[in-house]
């Protein structure tokens, strides 16, 4: 079974194509302007600065190691936003790839996720540089290997929403505005800025309804608190994400196949 898969990958150029399209996508996003990659790093830093002033300096929320606490959550949150909001028009902007050939559209989605993963990799790297060298009294333990299933969960979730939204875009052009509102609301009802206890007490059960919550909560468990993930949340999150991915794939088959003639 595995050898068949291996031969299939080696025999075709699918992996190479995935990497080529991801690199080009990444380049288009970050190397086109003069400051280049710097922008990718400035964005989370500026956000941390703003929330630090608001929550620690003015409101005195009193969360220990607040910068690290925020940093890891924002990096994951931004990946989700970029992969969902940023890809709504993907079938329109990447039309040149499928309009003249019988290329499978799912490859376009995977390459964009791939390019975002390159960005996520640099952001996580930057987080660990801060965490290990600047943050005082914190250390990294073996528990960070659990970051792998957590990021996998994030990727499945993002791909799912990317598919759902971009295919709905074919029949509803204002989905972008609607999603912008949902994302805006989502940011404030996710456990990004608050103490987890406060969040759970105020909105019980929400960490199960909001699909990004389990990812953020567990990422903090394994990175900041040197703890194993909350297993219930982790498995629930994976099932939840796969559910969205299946809806997305269904929509790609139903609506996406008509993208060439409708867009």
């Amino acid at each position: 079974m595995i050898s068949i898969l291996k031969n299939w990958v080696r025999g075709s150029n699918k992996l190479e194509r995935f990497w080529l399209l991801s690199k080009i996508e990444y380049k288009l996003r970050y190397y086109e302007n003069k400051l280049g990659l710097v922008w990718a790093l400035i964005k989370p830093l500026s956000e941390i600065f703003i929330y630090y002033i608001a929550f620690e300096v003015i409101m005195k929320a009193g969360i220990p190691h607040f910068v690290s606490y925020l940093f890891i959550a924002l990096v994951l949150w931004n990946f989700f936003v970029e992969s969902s909001l940023g890809t709504i028009q993907i079938l329109a902007t990447k039309k040149y790839l499928y309009e003249y050939t019988n290329m499978n559209k799912i490859e376009i989605y995977l390459s964009v996720i791939g390019s975002n993963l390159i960005g996520l990799f640099f952001n996580i790297l930057m987080f660990f540089v801060y965490y290990i060298f600047i943050e005082k009294g914190m250390y990294v333990s073996w528990h960070i290997i659990f970051l792998i299933p957590i990021v996998l969960n994030l990727v499945i979730l993002s791909l799912g929403f990317s598919l759902i939204l971009s295919n709905l875009y074919i029949i509803a052009k204002d989905i972008q505005q609607i999603w912008l509102i949902i994302i805006g609301l989502g940011f404030w009802i996710s456990p990004i800025l608050y103490k987890l206890d406060t969040f759970r007490a105020a909105l019980p059960g929400l960490e199960y309804i909001n699909p990004i919550s389990n990812i953020i909560i567990n990422a903090r468990n394994v990175v900041l608190y040197n703890h194993v993930p909350e297993w219930g949340l982790l498995f629930w999150g994976l099932i939840y994400s796969v559910f969205f991915l299946l809806i997305g794939l269904y929509l790609l088959n139903r609506l996406g196949s008509k993208a060439a003639e409708k867009l």
């Binding site: 080529l20 080009i24 288009l28 790839l97 499928y98 003249y100 050939t101 019988n102 509803a172 060439a260």
Partner: protein, 247 residues
């Protein structure tokens, strides 16, 4: 009937296609909500009506018919770009549709476009490296290779597209009036490679209004009239039917 994968390039069974064209742009959530009870009736355009046929590997297959007869729609359906409403299309191999341009991003440079297109057409990076110089020289674009193609003239883009198609083309090529790219000198060159590298060796579906071209290259020709496959067979008969319609 069992179908031989080695021999057949495209199979079309009971395919048909209807376009639904709505009067105003009825594709936002807002409009849908406000018109919940009075949905506008879209106009139906039957572009292709029930047809059955297959295209053999290595064959040059012609598609003729007047404007609006469904030629281009049929080409897109056979290439797997448009889905059919009924029946199915089975494609054995990668396809490429060419009319004036091929799929290229205007945000990318000529070099990047060559690699992306080549890869989409099924080549490996090493294989693209090998034909890269050939593509650039054939398109006569050596000094603009790292320029974004949005700064190219339409002729330059067409030449690049043609050159990629010639040197990296897919197994099944759909050519929609392509022998009119570029100046006379480029056209001569284009026809030469067209005869050399496509007619022998690749499966070609040729859409054209030029009956001379059709008669010269195609073994079998499909003649379409108002979305109906009126005739499929030898070129001579199909061309005569088409000429009779135009009288």
């Amino acid at each position: 009937m069992e179908l031989n994968k080695e021999k057949v390039a495209v199979i079309a069974r009971n395919i048909s296609k209807t376009f639904y064209i709505s009067e105003d742009s009825y594709n936002t959530v807002k409009k849908r909500l406000f018109n919940l009870f009075n949905t506008p009736k879209p106009k139906e355009v039957a572009a292709l009506k029930m047809m059955n046929f297959q295209i053999d590997r290595g064959e040059c297959f012609g598609l003729i018919g007047r404007n609006g007869s469904g030629k281009s729609t049929l080409a897109r359906v056979l290439a797997g770009v448009y889905p059919t409403d009924t029946g199915y299309v089975k494609i054995n191999g990668s396809t490429m549709l060419m009319n004036l341009g091929v799929g290229m991003s205007h945000e990318l440079t000529a070099r990047e476009n060559i690699y992306v297109s080549g890869s989409v057409l099924g080549l490996k990076i090493k294989e693209i490296d090998k034909v890269f110089d050939k593509i650039v020289d054939f398109a006569e674009l050596r000094e603009f290779i790292d320029t974004k193609i949005k700064f190219f003239s339409s002729g330059m883009i067409a030449r690049l597209g043609f050159s990629i198609a010639v040197n990296a083309g897919a197994e099944i090529m759909f050519l929609d009036e392509i022998l009119t790219v570029g100046d006379i000198k480029f056209q001569e060159k284009a026809i030469k490679v067209f005869e050399k590298s496509w007619i022998d060796g690749k499966t070609v579906i040729l859409v054209s209004h030029s009956m001379d071209v059709i008669k010269k290259y195609c073994q079998r020709v499909a003649y379409l009239k108002n979305g109906v496959l009126e005739y499929l067979g030898d070129a001579e008969t199909a061309v005569n039917m088409y000429i009779a319609e135009n009288k």
